[in-house]
């Protein structure tokens, strides 16, 4: 089989000011994973390496650069699957780690479970040597601006239309 590494940086209405950085980011991530593969790494090693590269790039909504919850926190989700064994590992709503996909891989390889969430995921990560980082490290000015705009816009809408229900979230994964 001709080996291949494919990556994506998210499907959404990517604004023009992010087009170039986003393309450079996915190209770099594809190169990273392909390099791991050609150096003898497994397909899991390559997939993890590419996603780590994307998580570390603040232009993408994952790892550093993640968007904010309504409470101005970063909560991240990740999964990794080995197609040979169909083993899977995942984390949900994990906080304060640079690379959630690395914790997902630890879940796959070190537990009998598929997914750990919230505090449990963070405790598991810490127990396996994953260092917690200051939450500020993960938060970009763009993420703060986007949340501020969201809150301002939705409060205006609710005032104008006298809505009383909680506003819907915007954007998507």
């Amino acid at each position: 089989v001709e080996p291949v590494v494919v990556v994506h940086g998210g499907a959404w209405a990517v604004p023009e000011e992010l087009w170039d950085e986003s393309l450079q980011g996915v190209k770099a991530a594809a190169r990273r994973g392909y390099g791991v593969l050609t150096a003898g790494g497994s397909s899991v090693d390559a997939a993890e390496a590419s996603v780590v590269c994307l998580e570390d790039n603040p232009v993408f909504d994952a790892g550093t650069g993640s968007v904010l919850t309504f409470d101005e926190q970063v909560e991240m989700d990740a999964i990794i699957i080995d197609g040979t064994t169909m083993e899977a590992g995942a984390v949900g709503a994990i906080r304060n780690v640079l690379n959630p996909v690395k914790v997902a891989r630890l879940v796959m390889e070190k537990t009998d479970h598929i997914m750990l969430v919230g505090d449990g995921a963070n405790k598991f990560a810490a127990a396996h040597g994953v260092q917690e980082v200051d939450p500020e490290v993960l938060i970009t000015s763009l993420a703060r601006q986007t949340l501020a705009k969201y809150k301002k816009y939705t409060s205006t809408v609710y005032h104008l239309f006298n809505k009383t229900e909680k506003p819907e979230t915007s954007g998507h994964e």
């Binding site: 089989v1 001709e2 080996p3 291949v4 494919v6 990556v7 994506h8 940086g9 998210g10 499907a11 959404w12 990517v14 087009w19 986003s22 393309l23 980011g25 190209k27 991530a29 594809a30 190169r31 392909y34 397909s43 899991v44 390559a46 997939a47 993890e48 590419s50 996603v51 994307l54 998580e55 993640s66 904010l68 309504f70 909560e75 991240m76 989700d77 990740a78 999964i79 990794i80 699957i81 080995d82 197609g83 040979t84 899977a88 995942a90 949900g92 709503a93 690379n99 959630p100 997902a104 969430v117 993420a143 986007t146 949340l147 969201y150 979230t169 915007s170 954007g171 998507h172 994964e173």
Partner: protein
């Protein structure tokens, strides 16, 4: 959201997907990304998929599993992704995108949102794009 799918020389497949979620999400809300068969799926007998888009819709549609199921019937990878996204749009009014690779090394990318950045390397060439129907190729 970001993601990756891989097939190696022996036909071993893997996928990984990671996300910070949605702006202003309810604390504790978890989307499709960490759900097997929604945010990703991999099976050496068929291939691997990573998805992105409206998380709740992707979960309802089990999008990654849907796409691999169609791939398993012999459909092309790209056509399988289009099938999955069309199903999600028609049944749930959800939009998104996906990347996939078959166990034989066939690649597919497609999205129903305005844009999706993607790239892949195969046989000494780097392929990438962001706009619908854009496909740029460079020699490595």
């Amino acid at each position: 959201t970001v993601g990756c799918v891989v097939v190696d020389r022996e036909g071993h497949t893997s996928c990984a997907t990671s996300t910070g979620g949605i702006t202003a999400k309810m604390p504790g809300r978890v989307g499709d990304t960490p759900i097997v068969g929604a945010g990703g799926f991999a099976d050496d007998q068929v291939g691997a998929v990573s998805t992105t888009g409206h998380g709740e819709a992707i979960m309802k549609a089990c999008l990654a599993r849907h796409i691999t199921s169609v791939m398993g019937t012999g459909e092309s990878v790209k056509s399988s992704i289009q099938n999955g996204l069309a199903h999600m749009e028609s049944r749930i009014k959800g939009f998104g995108g996906a990347i996939a690779v078959s166990c034989k090394g066939e690649v597919g990318t497609h999205f129903s949102t305005p844009r999706m950045t993607w790239a892949y390397i195969q046989a000494g060439k780097l392929h990438y794009g962001i706009h619908p129907n854009q496909h740029v190729t460079e020699d490595l």
